[in-house]
Amino acid sequence: MSKNVVVIDDSFIMRALIKEIVESDAELKVVAEAENGKQGLQMVREHKPDIILLDIEMPEMNGLEMLKRLMLMGKSKVIVISSVGQAGSDQAVEARRLGALDVIAKPSGAMSLDLAEKRGHEIVTAIRKSLVMG
């Protein structure tokens, strides 16, 4: 059975890219997208996804705020994919502290659109690993 994924990112381009990456794995399906944490919470309640892919910097409600609320509501499996999620950043550490299963950096610099090629595998691997882990 395929696993349901919700993608929360304020950039539609990023959402499209992440969706493309996620669905390159036949067993993963993006069932809903949201552009901020508030919408994200609604989507999570509505779809009860197996995995949530969450950006940090978003308007209305950012990813860390949403993560706090998710953690109050129950054990959601959240992977943070953010441009401020590089190794050792405050946001990455905070996201982990709040219970994110993994934090993946959107690469920065002129080569960013390598995301699909370079980080695509990483994202799918992280999702699969998270699905296995309690």
């Binding site: 944490g37 409600m61 706090k68 950043s89 950096a105 695509g120």
Partner: protein, 969 residues
């Protein structure tokens, strides 16, 4: 995947353009148009979207500009700053910079140079207006907002009550960690039960579990044992964290402080040992790294352990030490999957942090500033190591006199390639080549480039519409042999127009030298590549002149017409007849001449079938080509709709009317030229609806209608036609008043007016010189009448219908071709000449007989589903003399019933040739003056076919029966 990335760039180009288009008119209107709150919201959202789009493509400079503009608009939106012309001007500058940044990015796939001056002005203005206080936290500070707005699952009011309950009960729980519970056991048990129940009810799963866990370890008396104490500490730490979050969300104090204080005291005894174990592992790793052994596989255990210890420390409120451990854990975790490089510097920094945490575990308090400096140091190592080689390469390349256009498109790996080559003693060269000027030389050059040197990068350069390339390459060979090689390749300098050696601090021109000055004159100077921003051959969006697209569409159109003609020739009945004739005589001929005519005829007809088959394939291919060509000009109506809804809202606001807008079908796509030329007339029509159609709120209430009027603008796509409706639920058109006005203005006679149906009377508003409202208003009555609107629509090959009911509203229905160029038409023959009638005005085509025609009131009519429709000979209408003057005399009558805004007439023609798609050409002015002719189409054989105009034909028919009018529906 890279194809997908191409798609993203394309979408980026399109989306950003749309936002920029939305922003500009609003800002440009500041000062003379009223700027509504909706406009400000729109501006804010568009800048925000631009920021997001730029970020998605990693255009930091562009993102920054949008961010600053968004900040300022945030203040405007919150009413903390005005949107005056100064600010609008500044924001328009930001728009220009965003536009430039966007264009640069699309051409180069990278961020352009940041306009620092503008950024600092924007930042200063933002600070002056209201500063960043509140704004920085604004994005994610729900505590500042009412809980109801938060969208967190549980009922906000109940959640508030629960947090108040926490404030009462959490301090009690601190007793759990005391040496002896004493007589407080019952109180603690109660507190746990109350809080567990509430958490359960509010579906706060993790909290409910934590309280249940506490209840399970609560001893009957005395104190917790060691294991129970560890569990309780862990659970209470979690509860404290969650309570803090709840307090933040609800804005209600959860009384966490006493619990947090109780948790600070005891650290687990084995913490220093655990940290010692981690430090030992880290030392081993360091030794491995120094010895060059790969280590990332050994990191998994270490990061997990440091994270566990970090969480423990966090639970017992040792935040500084906890944050150091969690940071180390995060970095090691990333190192484990090779996201960051495991360098000795990194491991030493991690060791420093673990040692500090150990100090804390042993009871020494940490210094916040020291911790921050350690964190900073680690980040520097991360940043440095990650891009060190690229940065090194940049340093080298930056110093080189490479042409900026070439430098900007260099990718990191190309930078490295150059840096590496230079460090190995190679030379760097630039050469400009126009390989197409001489195919042989061009080919030799490309071979040489591939085999003898190492090409690094290239960009396209244009010169007099001719495209060439500027290559950057490295070679171990010195400038002199390179120049000699190029000279040998192209002695006259036909293709290789320029070559330079790029030295460490100077550029040395190799070619053209004095001996070749004359031959290479065209290639001189840095201007050789000017205007070719889109370099590197990887452009996402191609900017093409509209006229180029138009000529492509025209060419394709004519090819299709030619193809149809060819197909017609191949399958023509004359050939059938000829072949049949041959066959009929075959026997006799064969006998006389001894040939096998039958076989030859079969061969001919097989060949004909094959040609026809190829023709069908070609037609299919051409049609796809046509679709693609048309697609080039087709854009969504979105922008037009936005403009309309803005116009309507603004006007309604000015007139104190309340309007609800419904926009449907904004995704419907239509030719860009149509959108552009439709924009003004439609805006006029929409404003007319508000101005004349919609009653003031009090009148509406008196008429028993909702105070707020409804204006619905909708678009649907049907075949090659788009239908746009502008509907209001206002007072409707008053036919009587329209008649009266038309008579007063001398547009119709009293008798004519009386004869008109209400529907026909409504159409009088499209006549030149008509205006229904006595008091000319500032908005709709500025001299532009509905006649201008109709003319504009008709010029685009469309038409307008009106539907109106007194007191219930008016609907204007615009029918437009999707493409301004493409028209389906019914081809008829009249007066011995083929003509086309646009399909959209043809209601039906029928074969009547003379018996169907009756004379009613001196006119020839046929009855169509109970309604009489006047019949006119088409040739006669167009002033061609001929035998078909009296329809009743002919036995068979091919008729084409055309409809123009409700007026129907039947055109009698000599022959019907079916439907065909035609490409309309702009009319020669002389042709345009002929009434009833709307356009022309060039046929495959080069002849011109006239395209008739139903509106004009109806007018001609009306004139031919002067004073008698035309049968209406």
């Amino acid at each position: 995947m890279s194809e997908f990335v191409e798609t993203l760039w394309r979408e980026f180009a399109v989306e950003t353009e749309e936002h920029l288009h939305l922003i500009e008119p609003i800002l440009a209107g500041v000062g003379h148009d009223a700027v509504s709150a909706t406009d400000v919201d729109q501006l804010f959202r568009s800048f925000h979207s631009l920021k997001g789009l730029a970020r998605a493509m990693d255009l930091r400079g562009t993102e920054n500009i949008a961010h600053q503009a968004e900040n300022i608009l945030g203040l405007v939106r919150d009413g903390r700053a005005p949107l005056d012309s100064d600010i609008a001007g500044l924001l328009l500058q930001a728009v220009d910079a965003l536009s430039a940044g966007r264009d640069f990015a699309i051409a180069n796939r990278a961020d352009g140079p940041a306009p620092d001056a503008l950024l600092s002005v924007l930042a200063k203005v933002f600070e002056k207006l209201g500063g960043p206080e509140g704004a920085g936290a604004g994005a994610g500070a729900p505590a500042a907002k009412p809980p109801a707005d938060d969208d967190f699952g549980p009922d906000p009011e109940l959640l508030g009550f629960y947090v108040e309950g926490m404030a009462d009960n959490l301090p009690v729980l601190a007793a759990l960690l005391s040496a002896d519970l004493g007589d407080r056991r019952a109180e603690v048990a109660d507190a746990i039960e109350v809080l567990a129940h509430g958490a359960d009810m509010l579906e706060l799963g993790p909290l409910a579990e934590a309280f249940a866990g506490l209840a399970a370890v609560l001893p009957d008396a005395g104190a917790l044992d060691a294991a129970g104490r560890a569990t309780a500490t862990d659970l209470l730490g979690q509860i404290r964290d969650q309570a803090e979050i709840l307090a933040e969300i609800t804005g209600v104090d959860a009384g966490v402080a006493p619990l947090a204080a109780a948790l600070t005291a005891p650290l687990e005894d084995d913490l220093p040992q655990s940290l010692d174990a981690c430090l030992g592992t880290l030392d081993d790793l360091l030794a491995d790294v120094d010895a060059g052994t790969p280590v990332h596989r050994n990191l998994d255990g270490l990061w997990a352990e440091t994270e566990r210890l970090g969480r423990d420390l966090d639970n017992v409120a040792a935040p500084l030490a906890a944050s150091l451990l969690l940071l180390v854990s995060d970095v090691l975790r990333r190192a484990a999957r090779e996201e960051v490089e495991v360098s000795p510097a990194l491991l030493r920094s991690a060791r420093d942090m673990l040692r500090a945490a150990r100090e804390r575990a042993l009871g020494t308090d940490l210094d916040a500033a020291w911790c921050e400096s350690r964190r900073q140091h680690l980040r520097e190592i991360l940043a440095g190591k990650e891009e060190d080689h690229v940065r090194q390469a940049w340093k080298i390349i930056d110093a080189l006199p490479i042409r900026p256009e070439l430098k900007e498109i260099l990718l990191p790996q190309q930078l490295e390639q150059i840096a590496t080559a230079l460090s190995e003693g190679a030379y760097l060269y630039a050469v400009t080549v126009f390989p197409n000027r001489d195919g042989e030389i061009g080919g030799r050059f490309v071979l040489w480039l591939q085999k003898d040197v190492r090409a690094v990068s290239n960009r396209t350069v244009f010169e007099d519409d001719e495209s060439g390339f500027e290559f950057l390459f490295t070679s171990d060979r010195e400038p002199r042999p390179i120049k000699e090689a190029l000279d040998a390749l192209d002695p006259a300098g036909r293709c290789v127009v320029e070559a330079s050696y790029i030295g460490v601090d100077s550029e040395q021109r190799l070619l053209p030298d004095e001996s070749r000055q004359a031959a290479a004159q065209v290639g001189q100077g840095d201007g050789a590549g000017a205007g070719s921003g889109a370099g590197g051959g990887n452009e996402a969006v191609l900017r093409v002149r509209a006229s180029t697209v138009q000529s492509l569409i025209n060419e394709v159109g004519e090819m299709i017409t030619a193809m149809a003609a060819l197909h017609g020739l191949v399958t023509s009945p004359q050939i059938d007849e000829a072949l049949a004739g041959l066959l009929a005589n075959a026997k006799r001929c064969d006998a006389e001449t001894g040939t096998d005519i039958r076989r030859l005829v079969h061969a001919l007809s097989d060949g004909r079938r094959a040609v026809s088959g190829v023709g069908i394939d070609l037609q299919g291919g051409l049609r796809r080509l046509q679709d693609t060509a048309l697609e080039l000009r087709v854009v969504p109506l979105d922008q037009l709709f936005n403009r309309l809804s803005r116009g309507i809202r603004d006007l309604a606001g000015q007139q104190g009317k309340q309007v609800r807008m419904v926009l449907e079908g904004r995704e419907v796509r239509i030719d860009k030229t149509i959108v552009e030329s439709l924009s003004d007339p439609m805006l006029h029509m929409a404003r007319n609806s508000v101005d004349h159609g919609i009653e003031p709120p009090e009148d509406r209430v008196a008429a028993g209608k909702p105070e707020r009027a409804l204006v619905r603008i909708s678009a649907i796509h049907r075949g090659s036609e788009v239908r746009i409706e502008v509907a209001d639920d206002g007072r409707g058109l008053n036919a009587e008043r329209i008649r009266a006005t038309a008579i007063k203005r001398g547009i119709v006679s009293e008798a004519d007016a009386a004869a008109l149906s209400d529907a026909d009377a409504a159409r009088l508003i499209f006549r030149p010189g008509f205006s229904t409202v006595e008091q000319v208003t500032e908005t709709s009555g500025r001299g532009v009448g509905m006649d201008v609107v109709l003319t504009a629509v008709q010029r685009l090959g469309g038409d307008i219908d009106i539907r109106t009911r007194a007191g219930q509203g008016t609907t204007f229905i615009l029918r437009l071709p999707v493409s301004a160029a493409l028209q389906t038409a019914v081809i008829v023959e009249a007066g011995g000449q083929s003509m086309a009638i646009p399909d959209r005005s043809v209601q039906e085509v029928l074969q009547a007989t003379a018996a169907d025609v009756r004379e009613i009131g001196g006119r020839h009519c046929i009855t169509l589903r109970g309604t009489p429709v006047a019949v006119f000979p088409l040739g006669g209408l167009l002033g061609r003399p001929g035998l078909w003057g009296d329809p009743s005399a002919s036995a068979r009558l091919p008729l084409v019933v055309v409809d123009s805004g409700g007026d129907r007439i039947a055109l009698q023609v000599e022959r019907l040739h079916g439907r065909r798609e035609l490409y309309l050409k702009d009319l020669h002015p002389a042709l345009g003056a002929i009434p009833g002719v709307g356009g022309a189409s060039i046929q495959g054989d080069g002849t011109v076919m006239l395209v008739l105009d139903a509106e004009g034909l109806v007018r001609l028919a009306r004139a031919s029966h002067a004073g008698a009018g035309v049968a209406g529906t």
